[in-house]
């Protein structure tokens, strides 16, 4: 199980989808679990919205350049659904509908913070144990909340000493803290604030939750264009091309802008490497405006490539 976490706006959902495609392309049967009910993911696969039921996004045995896909399936797990599921599996089915309808979940959730999260995590743990999936990717809530979300197990195991919630919390904790079963991959952007936040989140997760961290996934890294170091006039001369009037200025302005942004990115990536001793997997900036299957395949290729260059085997597979 891999938990994908990062602050809003870093492209966590796209990265999760790309990880799924990458895993599937090496024959791994992959399940994506969405907990916030956001709409973006299925559209990237050209599919409709997700529900509590499994939806196949990439068919197993779909062919691609390197072989055959293991398949990508996705579903949501919301606290309400997870509670109903939980109650009916604990012999409380009779009152379960009334509990939810009367808003009891709200009240219980307030009385016992983290119970929503533990219900969701508990359900995921149950899915993990079916053995139906080689990899479960959890598209976790945005960063601040991700820590609370993952901390819920430890909090509840301490707060509720006996009973089914305690058992549930301990089971989840066992899963979270077992690096052979579960890791967290943090997603960030190569920019100042996202880097600060990912460093902070990484340490909190390790210290407060005890979960093992996988590589940091850095989204939207500009591909290097070495030729930009050459002035456009010289570049044109060396190519034997005559530039139009004013063209050199435009090219120069665009190149300067890109080079400055790229330099800033590298500065941040270096700083992150210094402050956070975790390997980085870099995903390229996509200049296209629509994110579809073709773009996911591109990101997935970068993930696969990035992971092959790491010395940590088996993070995804």
């Amino acid at each position: 199980m891999l938990i994908v976490a990062g602050k809003g706006g870093v492209g966590k959902t796209a990265v999760t989808a790309a990880l799924a495609v990458a895993a599937s392309s090496v024959g791994v049967r992959t399940l994506i679990v969405e907990v916030e009910g956001k709409g973006g993911m299925p559209a990237m696969f050209g599919s409709a919205g997700l529900t509590y039921e499994d939806a196949v996004l990439v068919h197993a045995a779909e062919e691609h350049a390197d072989g055959v896909h293991g398949g990508v399936t996705a579903r949501t797990i919301t606290p309400d659904d997870a509670l109903l599921d939980y109650l009916s599996s604990h012999g409380l089915q009779r009152i379960s509908n009334r509990l939810v309808a009367s808003g009891a979940l709200d009240l219980v959730a307030t009385a016992v913070p983290g119970i929503r999260d533990i219900l969701v995590l508990g359900k995921i743990k149950q899915l993990e144990q079916t053995g139906e999936w080689d990899l479960i990717l959890l598209d976790a809530p945005a960063a601040g909340h991700a820590i609370t979300f993952l901390r819920s197990a430890r909090g509840l195991a301490d707060a509720v000493k006996v009973g089914p919630i305690n058992t549930q919390a301990n089971d989840v904790l066992e899963l979270l803290c077992d690096p052979t079963r579960c890791r967290v991959a943090l997603v960030t952007l190569p920019e100042e604030t996202p880097v600060n936040e990912v460093v902070e989140t990484a340490y909190s997760l390790e210290d407060e939750v005890g979960v093992a961290l996988g590589p940091v996934l850095v989204n939207a890294v500009f591909p290097d264009l070495a030729g930009l170091a050459t002035d456009p006039e010289d570049a044109a001369a060396s190519a034997g091309v005559t530039l139009l009037d004013g063209e050199a200025d435009l090219l120069r302005a665009a190149a300067e802008f890109r080079s400055e942004r790229t330099a800033l990115q590298h500065q941040q990536l270096d700083r992150m490497a210094e402050e956070l001793p975790l390997p980085q997997v870099r995903l390229p900036y996509l200049f296209t405006s629509e994110l579809g299957r073709a773009e996911l395949d591109l990101l997935a290729a970068a993930v696969t490539d990035g992971i092959r260059h790491l010395d940590v085997p088996g993070v995804v597979a």
Partner: protein, 382 residues
């Protein structure tokens, strides 16, 4: 007020007493809130900005180490005043409880109740609720010309608008009656079903928790009118003509969709967006006045030129240059197409496009430079 030249957005700010910045996370909302307040200070007004973001981003940008729940003054040599604070949900809530408690004993009973401690930290919408509460406190009781609030990065604008009603609603909860009823003998009979529910709850979460909840509701008895009244006043402030909702977005497809959703929800609440700020726009490197000539060709044509040239020996560097220009234009064109529907929706509100700055906003000087861009005094700040 001094005569700082400004655009239409600046005029909106100048006319308003409250500005609420809303939008999804990661679009520069906190920074935008800060520079709206700074703009007011620069034009001689006394402004305060309430930030919510737990990542303390604004504190970084303002060069303030520890913003607290009370306003601190930021000195920047402007004619007006700039104050900033970081919302502390729990202490704001505590203050509210103290305000509406009939006696010291009642507020103590609530503040020390475990259930309350959980509510004040985790009831969904509490942060939004306290943001509106802080806004109200500063706008009505504070001595400011302008209050700017950053909103929590929620997907739902209604969370913010309806937050004040939520606690009132929560206290009216059917379960409140269910939980308190067993103490009143004569209704016991009709509440057998309810008690089954309570017992089921106790079985799952433990009896302590249920006891805490019951004593919380009992302690709150009689305070709900105060809360409801406050909620109505906050409502009136939010829908007042001197309150402007400013939408902050980035030109990415998903955040534009979310911004559109915000605008729609506000509209349903009879609140119109007064301004749209789109941060981090990619410059397109088009030459003004040359839109029809060869230099203004679209990204595809530029990219084709790169591909054609890649066959030619010695052209590697030029290929990179054309690729770079094509990337920039493709991005810029995509962003504009995402924005089309949104700008139509918020019309006639002014739309300000802020191009991606080739530096990060980490200090006052940078923030002030960005303010010049947002309020139309320059296009690129350096």
């Amino acid at each position: 007020m001094t005569g700082l030249p400004t655009n239409e957005l600046g005029q909106v700010v100048a006319r308003s007493k409250v500005v609420v910045c809303c939008g999804s996370g990661g679009v520069g909302k906190t920074t935008t809130a800060a520079l709206i307040a700074m703009e007011a200070a620069r034009s001689g007004r006394r402004a305060v900005v309430v930030t919510i973001d737990p990542a303390r981003r604004l504190a970084d940008a303002l060069g303030l180490e520890g913003l607290t729940n009370e306003p601190s003054r930021i000195d920047g040599g402007w004619p007006g005043e700039l104050w900033a604070l970081m919302l502390d949900t729990k202490s704001t809530f505590d203050g509210l409880v103290r305000r509406y408690s009939a006696t010291e004993a009642q507020s103590e009973a609530i503040l020390t109740n475990n259930f309350y401690k959980n509510i004040s930290g985790s009831l969904s919408g509490t942060q939004e609720y306290m943001a509106t509460e802080k806004l109200f406190e500063l706008a009505v009781e504070g001595d400011y010309d302008l209050v700017v609030v950053d909103t929590p990065p929620t997907r739902n604008a209604l969370d913010f608008l309806e937050a004040p009603h939520r606690l009132a609603h929560f206290l009216d909860h059917r379960l409140y009656r269910v939980l308190t009823a067993p103490t009143k003998g004569f209704v016991k009979a009709v509440n057998v079903a309810a008690q089954t529910l309570v017992r089921a709850l106790a079985k799952v979460v433990g009896a302590d928790v249920v006891d805490d909840a019951i004593s919380f509701f009992q302690a709150f008895e009689g305070m709900d009118e105060g809360f409801k009244d406050r909620a109505r006043q906050v409502d009136a402030l939010l829908t007042d003509d001197s309150t402007a909702f400013v939408l902050v977005a980035s030109p990415k497809a998903d955040t534009v969709v979310e911004a559109g959703y915000f605008a729609e929800q506000l509209h349903d609440h009879r609140i119109e967006v007064r301004g749209l700020i789109v941060n981090r726009m990619q410059p397109s490197f088009e030459r003004p006045g040359h839109t029809e000539d060869e230099l203004a060709t679209g990204p595809d044509a530029v990219r084709r030129r790169a591909v054609t040239l890649s066959e030619r020996p010695g052209a590697e560097a030029l290929v990179d240059h054309y690729t770079c220009l094509a990337d920039a234009r493709e991005l810029a064109r995509g962003e504009e197409s995402h924005l089309t529907g949104l700008t139509d929706r918020v019309a006639p509100a002014p739309v300000v496009r802020v191009s991606l700055q080739p530096f990060e906003v980490t200090d006052l000087a940078a923030l002030s430079g960005l303010g010049d861009v947002v309020f139309g005094r320059t296009t690129v700040s350096r």
